[in-house]
């Protein structure tokens, strides 16, 4: 018992010492300009941690590592300042993320704040970013209201489009296939009863109705559902050639497995978040081929390939095929904007809004504070999650439909 107690006390001491050094370092930085302070609050624990750990945190690490290797952030006069990072865990709590961003702005007095993960969290902190004058590069947030938000919060930037963008594009892809006679005009649809699922399914109902596609099965399920066999069975007997699920990663993985068990082979299989994770392709191998989802990449874009390689080398995991590369590109834009106009937040925001940037996405320019050049629909093809829509965008792949039935393992 004494040994145990001693260890506990030792580690407590270590913690306090660590906290003191952190505090001291933060204090020193505030007095003279020998570094640039960048802070962020992100979900390292709790329900959102899984999403943040794939799309947001590794890209922050990769970018901060780039800046470090570059010798710091370059300023307009060519000098470079090292970056000092302040990181908080918002524990997947909306109150906590608000508190942490407030602390970053008022107590830590950081120069720039990177956004948290998730649509809800970005909306929760948007008024704070606005009040304290920080540009907000909201990447991992899908919202149709971005055009309104841009008016309300002038320094907010939205990088991942809105629900209707994705569902309109999906409806387009389906309509083309229906007209070609590949599939019938019926869709079975399930969605998670939470932010992403609700937004997307609401948009999808309208998109499908506009395209003349009939939704024959449309159900929502609660977060944390593990057994999808009732829904798969109903969808299977509904006569629809297309199955769409606006699902979260655990649901996406479970739906994939359980559709194989039920030997359910819709001609179009479209699943939600998680389909674009590298682990999805790895776990499902051949069976992933033909499955569709949001996002995608141009498989022949070399810059993107280099980025994916560097991401894997540094963080030990591949980036996902949707938000990851966008997150990284948004940080490159921030870096470049600082290089052009310095640490003045107002100026950086203006530069982000009006400038043209060379990023890993190629030439990148925001329209009305939003990134609009995105892949709305993607499909697993030859082990890569390739972007299909917009079909007229250079680098777009052609849909391969109907997808092949499950291979027996």
């Amino acid at each position: 018992m004494t040994i145990f107690g001693g260890r506990v006390r030792l580690s407590a001491l270590g913690l306090i010492a660590g906290a003191l050094t952190l505090g001291a370092a933060a204090h020193a930085g505030a007095q003279d300009r020998d570094s640039v302070k960048i802070g962020y609050a992100v979900s390292k624990t709790g329900a959102n941690a899984g999403g943040a750990a794939i799309t947001t945190i590794p890209n922050y690490q990769l970018w901060l590592d780039d800046v470090k290797k570059n010798g710091g952030l370059e300023l307009p006069d060519g000098s470079k300042l090292p970056v000092e990072v302040i990181e908080y865990d918002d524990r997947s709590s909306a109150e906590e993320v608000v508190r942490a961003v407030e602390r970053l702005a008022t107590q830590d007095e950081v120069d720039f704040i990177l956004p948290p993960w998730g649509t809800g969290f970005n909306l929760a902190v948007a008024p704070l970013f606005d009040r304290y004058g920080y540009p907000q590069l909201a990447v991992s947030s899908v919202t149709d209201k971005a055009p309104e938000f841009v008016k309300r919060w002038k320094r907010s930037f939205w990088f991942l489009g809105g629900g209707a963008d994705y569902t309109d594009a999906l409806a387009d892809v389906l309509k083309t296939e229906i007209e070609a006679g590949t599939i019938n005009d019926k869709v079975a649809m399930v969605s998670v009863a939470d932010g992403f699922g609700i937004d997307l399914v609401t948009a999808a109902r309208e998109s499908f109705a506009d395209a003349g596609i009939e939704v024959v099965y449309d159900k929502t399920y609660p977060v944390g559902t593990t057994d999808y066999s009732p829904m798969i069975n109903e969808a299977s007997s509904s006569g629809a050639d297309t199955f769409v699920a606006f699902s979260y990663p655990p649901d996406t993985f479970a739906l994939t497995q359980q559709a194989q068990i039920a030997d359910y082979n819709p001609k179009v299989l479209y699943l939600g978040v998680g389909t674009g994770f590298p682990v999805y392709g790895k776990n499902n191998g051949e069976n992933a081929e033909g499955i569709m989802s949001l996002g995608g990449i141009d498989p022949n874009n070399e810059q993107n390939q280099v980025y994916r390689k560097r991401h894997e080398d540094l963080t030990g995991q591949g980036p996902d095929y949707w938000g990851s590369v966008i997150t990284y590109a948004s940080l490159q834009m921030l870096q470049e904007a600082i290089k052009r106009v310095g640490l003045d937040r107002e100026g950086v925001a203006e530069e982000l809004a009006s400038g043209t940037f060379e990023t890993v996405l190629g030439e990148t320019k925001l329209e009305d504070n939003q990134l609009r050049k995105l892949w709305w629909v993607g499909q697993w093809q030859n082990g890569v999650f390739a972007g299909l829509a917009p079909a007229d965008r250079p680098g777009a792949s052609k849909p391969v439909l109907p997808r092949k039935p499950w291979q027996k393992q």
């Binding site: 399920y221 057994d227 068990i261």
Partner: protein, 291 residues
């Protein structure tokens, strides 16, 4: 979906719930420790199976031979180091319950923190035995069927051991009257410690099986603790057959509601039954009898 399909799918889903809950009912019912870190033990075992399968290529079923004793040893050590002092100083059951809730609440974050440091907060999943097995015309996944069979086997075996053997009688004596058990020569500390460790082993078994078909993260343990707690309370605290039947009932209800009414109402249905049982039988389905 035909009635047979719904029944089979429901029983198989319920098997997972029962499997997860039986360890907790042992720990809570016999060792009298309300272990809030129970779900973290499950996740730790899931990670162990994931590692064995991914890095070393060990079949998770064989891995269980390693992970199960691991869960037992872990439970044994936790009881000896953390719970024993609480038991020694507690005046009555109520006291111990509050102390153990607080202590294991802390333990929850320690285990979770360690897993976050080692594995990060990413989604973990692999696929094992994801092959269909046809029973009476209904397709079920072999890995889920395994959970169901394991739950039945463990539940019935332990039930027989508890009711038919001298050792089981001692365990039940400690559960019912810990203050009187020493009078007949039972070492309460040792027995409770054993029951707690056994609960740890059962949690590990649940973790390994669940990792075969469910996506988990370092922080998803609390979901399992909650579900297990509902099943334990529904079945009657400390009652293995209670946990088994309550788990199966939950599975049947969820599948039935999802098939015949609406998948959106599964959670509501779970809590509705939970409430109904608490109102009519506050001691749980099997509570009070058959200990």
């Amino acid at each position: 979906m035909t009635l047979i399909n719904v029944l089979i799918a429901g029983l198989v889903l319920g098997g997972t719930y029962a499997l997860v809950a039986m360890g907790l009912t042992l720990q809570y019912g016999i060792a009298r420790i309300m272990n809030l870190a129970y779900g973290e033990t499950i996740i730790a075992a899931a990670f162990a199976a994931y590692l064995l399968q991914g890095a070393l290529g060990v079949n998770p079923l064989l891995g269980m031979l390693l992970v199960l004793p691991g869960g037992f040893v872990f439970g044994y050590i936790v009881y000896g180091l953390m719970m024993r002092p609480l038991v020694a100083r507690s005046q009555d059951r109520g006291n111990l319950e509050i102390d153990s809730i607080l202590a294991t609440f802390g333990l929850l974050f320690v285990i979770q923190g360690v897993m976050l440091v080692i594995f990060g907060s990413n989604y973990m999943s692999y696929s094992f035995l994801n092959v269909p097995v046809t029973i009476l015309g209904a397709n079920v996944a072999a890995n889920r069927l395994l959970a169901f069979v394991l739950a039945l086997t463990i539940g019935l075996t332990l039930y027989l051991l508890l009711t038919r053997t001298r050792w089981g009688t001692a365990l039940r004596a400690v559960a019912v009257a810990p203050q009187n058990a020493p009078l007949v020569g039972i070492d309460v500390n040792r027995t409770a410690r054993f029951a707690f460790a056994l609960g740890g082993a059962l949690a590990a078994a649940g973790g390994v099986v669940i990792s075969m078909y469910q996506t988990f993260t370092a922080t998803s343990g609390v979901v399992f603790t909650m579900k297990a707690l509902i099943v334990v309370i529904m079945g009657g605290v400390g009652n293995l057959l209670g946990a088994l039947s309550a788990g199966l009932i939950l599975g049947l209800v969820e599948t039935g509601v999802a098939s015949y009414i609406d998948p959106g109402l599964t959670l509501a249905a779970t809590y509705a039954i939970f409430l109904a049982i608490l109102l009519w039988r506050p001691q749980g389905l099997f509570g009070g009898a058959g200990r």
